[in-house]
Amino acid sequence: MSDASNASPALLDVRDVSKAFGTVEVLRSVSLQVKRGEVVTVIGPSGSGKTTLLRCVNFLESYDSGSIRIDGKEVGYREAGTRQRRSERDLASMRAETGMVFQSFNLFPHLTAAGNIMLGLTKVRGKSQAEARQAAEHWLGRVGLAHKADSLPAELSGGQQQRVGIARAVAMEPKILLLDEITSALDPELVGEVLAVVRSLAEDGMTMLMVTHEMAFARDASSRIVFMADGGVSAVGPPKEILAAETSNERLRTFLARFRASHF
């Protein structure tokens, strides 16, 4: 059905996306591409639209104009330009193609770690309970929590909860993983265990778009870094280029200087 030869080579193709909350423009004509297997990191001051951009990619937020395509398929609207929302059923199956990990984990509190992972596998992917359980155990093993399969979220530390959050997202075998400041709500000593999981997923070739304030991690793990300011993309490039102290982009230089001042 999909005409791959016509589609752009990028797995995720965001073009000229704009969005306003009332009179506040949160996204101004944002364009960015993520190729298969790439890890792209979005950085920028708070209020620059990073999280909103991420939430538009799986249509947790709608946008006013522009187009977002995953694997050549328009995400939230029936066709680019028409502004005609897809049906809820369509949206649900589109969203199943992207995985998302949240800043505040957002585990389902009434389900165990395994249960959290199994819900999507059984209800969305149509797997049997046994298959889903097996997959859940496999992914819990990958994030180092095989022994916590039957624990409730309330019985897990923040870092463990977030690792379950990651397992829940990747178990759905999404085409792209969206990571929204996934270490921001964690105590400093728990950040490492979560980032280690992300790193190993990157090594396995998982395509990722992430928003983070962990600059060292962004530098080491990203193929490219996107710097956003005031709702627009201000700079894009390889980590070395973007994080260089002597960049000519004044906004970026200010951001990095402020960042260094507050973190060292």
Binding site: N58, L60, E88, R89, L91, A92, S93, M94, R95, A96, E97, T98, G99, M100, F102, S104, N106, L107, F108, P109, H110, L111, T112, G115, L119, G120, K123, V124, L152, R168, A169, M172
Partner: protein, 221 residues
């Protein structure tokens, strides 16, 4: 004090109280069951509906909450059959009234619970590709239930006690049984002491059971 307590006459007619208690429980269980369905359906409808539907549901809740139950019981039992061509027994009439009454209170309990479900959980449900219906069944309702259980227990106990109002239309529940014994034996202190104890003990047992359920929901899955 010249009054000597004598419970003999109470024990002789105890079947009136015991049978009354069983009927009270029956009235409560049926009404609460129907009221819970009304409450759930309207609460789910309310949180997803537009302004008009919300206004209608809110009007229903406000009406019920501002009219005394005893008046509603009279209205439904004496008033309604004269206006529309309906015939029903006193117990049926009371169950109908208490169902509609409890429905209004339970809409409020469930609605506030549904609105208290953190948005992040609903986002997580969307993100894994659940449809709106699946998100309701597998994410929103279970979380809502955990949030509302304590308030729900209180409402249930309260509704159980409200069955005593059925005595005003001669439904032979516990309070009616107590009145009957009082009229026939004049042992007013003894009969109401025993009746109070029966409400108290039943209320405690219900509460204990509901707290067990709460704990189960909190601890296990």
């Amino acid at each position: 004090m010249g009054y000597a307590l004598n419970f003999n006459l109470i024990w002789r007619h105890f079947d009136k109280l015991w049978g009354g208690l069983l009927l009270s429980l029956e009235l409560a269980v049926i009404s609460i069951a129907i009221g819970t369905v009304i409450g759930l359906v309207l609460a789910v409808w309310y949180v997803s509906a537009g302004r008009t539907v919300r206004a209608i549901i809110a009007a229903y809740v406000e009406f019920i909450r501002n009219v005394p139950l005893i008046l509603l019981v009279y209205l439904v039992f004496y008033g309604l059959p004269t206006v529309v061509d309906l015939a029903y027994s006193a117990p049926t009439s009371f169950v109908l009234t208490l169902s509609v009454y409890s429905g209004a209170y339970l809409v409020e309990v469930f609605r506030s619970g549904l609105e208290a479900v953190p948005r992040g959980q609903l986002d997580a449900g969307k993100a894994i590709g659940l449809t709106p219906w699946q998100r309701l069944i597998h994410v929103r309702l279970p979380t809502m239930l955990r949030i509302t259980l304590p308030a729900l227990s209180n409402t249930f106990i309260s509704l159980f006690k409200d069955t005593s109002i059925a005595s005003v239309i001669s439904v032979p529940e516990l309070t009616f049984g107590a009145q009957w014994i009082n009229f026939n034996t004049f042992r007013i202190v003894e009969v109401y002491l025993v009746t109070t104890a029966m409400y108290l003990v039943t209320g405690y047992i219900l509460l204990f059971g509901l707290r067990l359920v709460e704990r189960r929901f909190r601890a296990a899955r």
